[in-house]
Each structure stands twice: as structure tokens, then as C-alpha cells.
């Protein structure tokens, strides 16, 4: 059994846990730094490059007074062939009380959680889930719109390779949003609608954004393509978010992107830097949400 403080994915998270993390994040945002985890040791185990998630978890841990230990695959015994499990057990033996893990293999945190008795926080596993990102996305939407139920959310882009997409779809659909998926068949396969009841899929981006409250863009993950051909010009023509396309959404529609953005691909500069872009707000909110996740990991739910 995974440690009860673990956060492996949104799919297995209870409604109560979701509500509790979101409300705790709200309180922490208002309260700011809070030494709830003073003296606690958190290992950050990163097998993949990351900027915002890693720094965000680090800042969250430090804001709570915890000490963090960063282990990067490229600069550790992992390069010598040490297994994931041995690496995690080694960190625990040295006193790590929680492990935040980013890994290219889907399910790596779930696998670890069967053998390691400290909380495992999934900071992104392969193409599977990125629960802290989904929680900060929900937090950001709630902050501005005060509700998620009934909102129309268009998720556009590379859904197939995206752990953010899977987590966001699970979470926002659970919270009552009406979700439309959109992308070319290679990146938004028909099977994507089986993730949750009530999902719709369209190949037409104009149709996806029509009347949308939120437009969530996803990075085209070329590094995960594995030989899949992508017709960049076609993608840009059909799916790129431009001011013209954005005009078809509701006048108060907001644009989100989990980052890193590829300007000129998923969206134009005008959209990325426009007044409706929540991109930096998402990043800012990430710290409070991750503080809430870390406090929950240590059983501190107040």
C-alpha cells in the first residue's frame, strides 16, 4: 500500500483530498511562508529535465522550512546503472522523509510506492500524470472564476504524449467542467475520450474554442514522438492559438499553458503575452499548491 501522504495521480485521489489540497493551498497563499515542516527532509529525484516543477517544489519545501536534497539522474549513481528502487531506498536510508519524483517512465512513482514507505509525490511520470500541475491549474481557474462546474474548457494540442492533459482532464472533469479535446489524430487519438465520461473530441480548433471559458494549450512534445512525423505547417495552420482564433471563444475566455511553451507552435506571442494569458499566474500559484501537497504528505492537514 502506498503511504497515505503520497500523491501518485489525480485518478486515484479522493474528492475529499482534492478539496482539502485546494483549500489548504488557498490558506497558504494568504499566509505565505510557514515553518510547518521545519527540519523535515525531502528528496527531489529528477530523472528528466525540469525547470518550473523542480524549482516550484523546492521553493514550496523551503517556504515550509523543510530541507531539500536534489538528485539528478545525469549527475548520480543512476548513470552507473543503479536501479530506481535502489536509488530511492538509498535516499530513505540517508533520512529522506518524502520523495518528489519526476521520471520518464509512466507509473514509476506507483511502482516505487509499493516498496518504499515514505510519501511519494509524483512530479510527472512519463505520459501518465502530473497531478501537482492539474491541481495548480484548478486552483488558478478557481481563483479567477470561483467555480469549475459548468465551465467549458477546450484542451488543445498534444494530448497523447501529455501527462498534464491526463491529469487536467481527470481533475477538471471530476470538478464538473465540460471538456472538449482537440488535436490531430496522431496527438489526440479517438481513444482519449474514454478517459472520463462525457468527454468530446473535435479535429476543428475553431469549433473547440467556440464559447470556451478556458483554452488550455499543450506543448507539442517532439522528444516523445519516436519517429512520428509531424507536419509543422499543418499543425500551425489548424491548431495554433492566434488572436483570430481566440476571438471565437467567449470574450472573457482565458488561455492556459503548463509550459514550457513553444512560441510560434502552440500559440503566437500575442496570445502568450496577451491580457488573457494565465501562464505566469499558473507558475506563481504552483508554489502554494505544492506547499499544500507537501504538508499533506507529512500528515499536516491543518
Amino acid at each position: 500500500m502506498p503511504h497515505p501522504g503520497s500523491l501518485l495521480g489525480i485518478e486515484a485521489l479522493t474528492d475529499q483530498a482534492i478539496a482539502s489540497i485546494l483549500s489548504s493551498a488557498r490558506q497558504l497563499e494568504l499566509a505565505g511562508a510557514h515553518p510547518a515542516l521545519a527540519g523535515r527532509r525531502i528528496a527531489l529525484l529528477f530523472y528528466e529535465p525540469s525547470t518550473r516543477t523542480r524549482v516550484s517544489f523546492e521553493m514550496a519545501a523551503k517556504a515550509l522550512g523543510a530541507t531539500t536534497y536534489l538528485v539528478l539522474a545525469a549527475a548520480s549513481s543512476i548513470e552507473k546503472g543503479e536501479s530506481l528502487l535502489d536509488t530511492a531506498l538509498t535516499l530513505c536510508a540517508m533520512g529522506a522523509e518524502a520523495i518528489v519524483i519526476r521520471h520518464p517512465s509512466s507509473g514509476a512513482p506507483h511502482f516505487l510506492s509499493r516498496y518504499v514507505d515514505v510519501p511519494i509525490i509524483n512530479a510527472g511520470d512519463g505520459m501518465h500524470e502530473h497531478p501537482s500541475q492539474a491541481l495548480l491549474d484548478a486552483f488558478t481557474i478557481l481563483e479567477i472564476r470561483q467555480r469549475i462546474a459548468g465551465l467549458k474548457i477546450a484542451v488543445i494540442g498534444d494530448i497523447y504524449h501529455s501527462r498534464v492533459a491526463r491529469s487536467d482532464i481527470h481533475l477538471l472533469s471530476r470538478l464538473g467542467a465540460e471538456i472538449v479535446l482537440c488535436g490531430p489524430p496522431e496527438l489526440a487519438p479517438d481513444v482519449a475520450v474514454t478517459l472520463r465520461p462525457g468527454l468530446r473530441l473535435t479535429r476543428n480548433a475553431d469549433e473547440a474554442v467556440r464559447d470556451a471559458d478556458i483554452i488550455m494549450l499543450l506543448r507539442v512534445q517532439k522528444e516523445r514522438f519516436g519517429g512520428l512525423p509531424l507536419f509543422v505547417e499543418r499543425y500551425i495552420a489548424e491548431f495554433q492559438m492566434t488572436p483570430q482564433r481566440l476571438a471565437k471563444a467567449r470574450p472573457d475566455a482565458l488561455v492556459m499553458h503548463p509550459g514550457p511553451m513553444v512560441r510560434g507552435m502552440e500559440l503566437t506571442d500575442a496570445v502568450a503575452d496577451g491580457a488573457r494569458s494565465l501562464v505566469l499566474r499558473q507558475v506563481r500559484n504552483g508554489v502554494a499548491v505544492r506547499m499544500a501537497i507537501l504538508r499533506r504528505a507529512f500528515g499536516d492537514v491543518n
Binding site: G107, D125, G126, H128, V191, L195
Partner: protein, 429 residues
Amino acid sequence: MSVLIRNARVIDPASSFDAEADLLIREGVIEQAAAPGQIAGADDILEAKGLVATPGFIDLHVHLREPGQSHKETIATGTMAAAAGGFTSLCCMPNTDPVNDLPAITRWMLQPERGAVVNVFPIAAATVGSAGEKLTDFAALRREGAVAVTDDGRPILHDGIMRSAMLQAAALGMPVIQHAEDTALTRGGSMHQGARAFRMGLRGMPAEAEWSVVRRDIQLARETGAHLHVAHISTAEAVEAVREARRHGIQVSCEVTPHHFALADDDIREYDANFKMNPPLRSPADREAMIVGLLDGTIDAIATDHAPHALHEKRQEFDRAPFGITGSETALGLALSILYEGRGLPLDKVIALLTARPAQILRGSEAGRRGTLAPGAPADIVIFDPSAKWRYEAANSKSKSQNTPFDGWEMRGRVMATMVGGEFVFRGE
């Protein structure tokens, strides 16, 4: 030396025999089956009232891992696990290290020093190093004991090479066995492509990768007159292709593993690599098609694809762990639980899938003489209790490895004794 098995229900599908009888074995050979009480005595008597005695099972598909990977399994441990599962003959795959592509390697596998406790029938590589480029010397390999050719996990995808392999094999009366997988479609995949793979964020291996190759191979078998044997069939479309080919008189046979009729992709436990094998667990509809194919006779044999891996190899991230699960000790229990008890396939038909029908596939070789209790046949016999319920404990496996999804499963039908050439090689409690 003689042994008398008394009062067993003797089922020999090869001779359509199914009755309570006494079975006399002398000097390693079946002497006769007679009505209970008619045979006077023997050196050794085994009372088998309430038990079933059948020919020892023939497994067309196992990985014994020797030479080269003895940390996973050895010929000795693999054959002991087989004996515990009622198997008396194993066909072992050539993906050893080095690959079994030379007569000397085939010969080495069969040397008494390997410590095999059941019959081993090597299947040799069809191409040198299973690299898919140059055919091996089928005739020389056959002389040393190879019963078929295959490149198993490195399927022969080049039309011209497959055609040449079939022509050479047909001339020698050997089947060509194909693990049907278009690897261009499965690259990076670790489970069946479908809703479940999408949900788990794992790259999928589409059903098409199997059936497209099966269809091509059937076409080549038609053109060459060769015997094509489809290894571990797993998709509904491939079973239908075999069914259709048979209707046209094409020489094609196929096997299915117990896990492909017992499990589907939605049964995969959370990223547990003991549920990872190739071909992968397919959709529930595919699993049902396997059962239908077994019930209507399209599928010829149950073969385990016993593929042992060490704990540290399987205890990894799902997409990094190797493909394959063990299967020798769970095959009978799963076949009886699911096919006999669950779906009403008569016992003699279940047994035929493990005996007479795989023997028929190997009819051009020494292995083809097995799988029967006819007088004069080698005394390879399994005695099992068809109604016993028991729980499989992987920790008690005779195999070196325990990579099974069936640990803790309740099974029906337990092996009580296994005999090879008149000698007991396994006795249950």
C-alpha cells in the same frame, strides 16, 4: 521394471480412449490399458482412484534460458517446473545466448549434463543470430534434434526470407513457427494499444501488428505449401485468419497461452511488470475470441510461453522491465478452471490441447511420437486430480524465477505425479 497405475480415469485423446482403466508400463514404454483388475501386478503399483491419467503434456513454447542466461532459468530448473505442471516434453526457443542457430548448440542443449528431467525438443533459429538475414542450416539442426525453426521474438518480417525459410522447412517436413509482430508498429510499446494503455500513459502495441503478419504468413504458407505455426496467438483477427485459412486447406496451426485466455489488458495491476509479456494481454473481446477459438477447435494447442526473468529484472519501471512471465506450473489449473469448469469444454478436449494436438503439430519429428498412451509409446504420463482446488504460490515454484501474475490464484486441477519414460519425475503430496 514395471509400473501399474490402477483405477484411474485414463484419457488418451490420440486414441479416443476415455474410461476407468489400469495402465501398465514396462521398461519405459506403455504396455497396455485394460479394464480395472485385469492386469495381475507390477513391480510398483500406484493407486489412482478418482484421478485422471493422460499422456504427459507437450509445451510447444518455453524459454529455458540456457545457454547464456542461467540466472533466469536452467534446463534443469525449467524442466523441473515443467514436470510439476504435468509437462513431459518441452520445445525450447532459440533466443538463448548465443542464439541456437548451430547444430553444436542444439546438441549442447540435449547433453545429459544439462540435467533435464523431461524431454527437451529444441526449436532452432531460422536465421543466423535470428538477425533475419541468412537462413540457418535446417537439415543439420534437425539431425541434432531441432523439431522446428523460428526466430521467435525477432520475427521474420522480410517476405523473401520468410518464403525461403518456408520452402526449406517444407522440404524437410518441419514447421516454421512465427511470433507474429510487425515491430515497426510496436516500437516502444509495453502493453496492448487501447483505452487502458492510453489511461496508463503507456505506448501501445496494436492488434494489427499481430494479425497483419499472420495474414502475410498464411499467404506465404499457401504459396509454398509449408506448415506455418502461429506462436501465442492473441488477437481476434488473427484467430479468424487462421480459421479462414483452414477452410481453404492451408497448412496452418496455432497455439494460445493460458494468460491470453485468462487475462485481458484491464486486469493489469498498477504498473506491475508481472503483467507484461509479448504479445501483451489484449482486450476482453480478444480474450473471448481465444476461448471461442479453443472451443471450436481453431486453436490447436495450449502453450505456456514460459519466460522466466530474475526478480531484479522485473522489479523495475513497467516500460523498462523485460517481457514475459512463467507459466509451466499454472497451465493445467488455468485450463481446467477456465475452459473445463468455466466454459464446459469436455475434459478430453482440454487434454487434447495439451497432448495429441501439439504432437500432431510436431508429427515430422521424434516429439510427434509423444502425446499418446497407445501401446508401444514412450511412457510419458501425468496423473492429476481434476477436482482438487488449490492456491498457486509462486514462492514454491520449481522454476528459478517467480515472475507470474497468477501468484495466489485459486486453481482447479492439481498434478499428482508426472512420469517420463516410465520414471516418476514429479510426485505431489
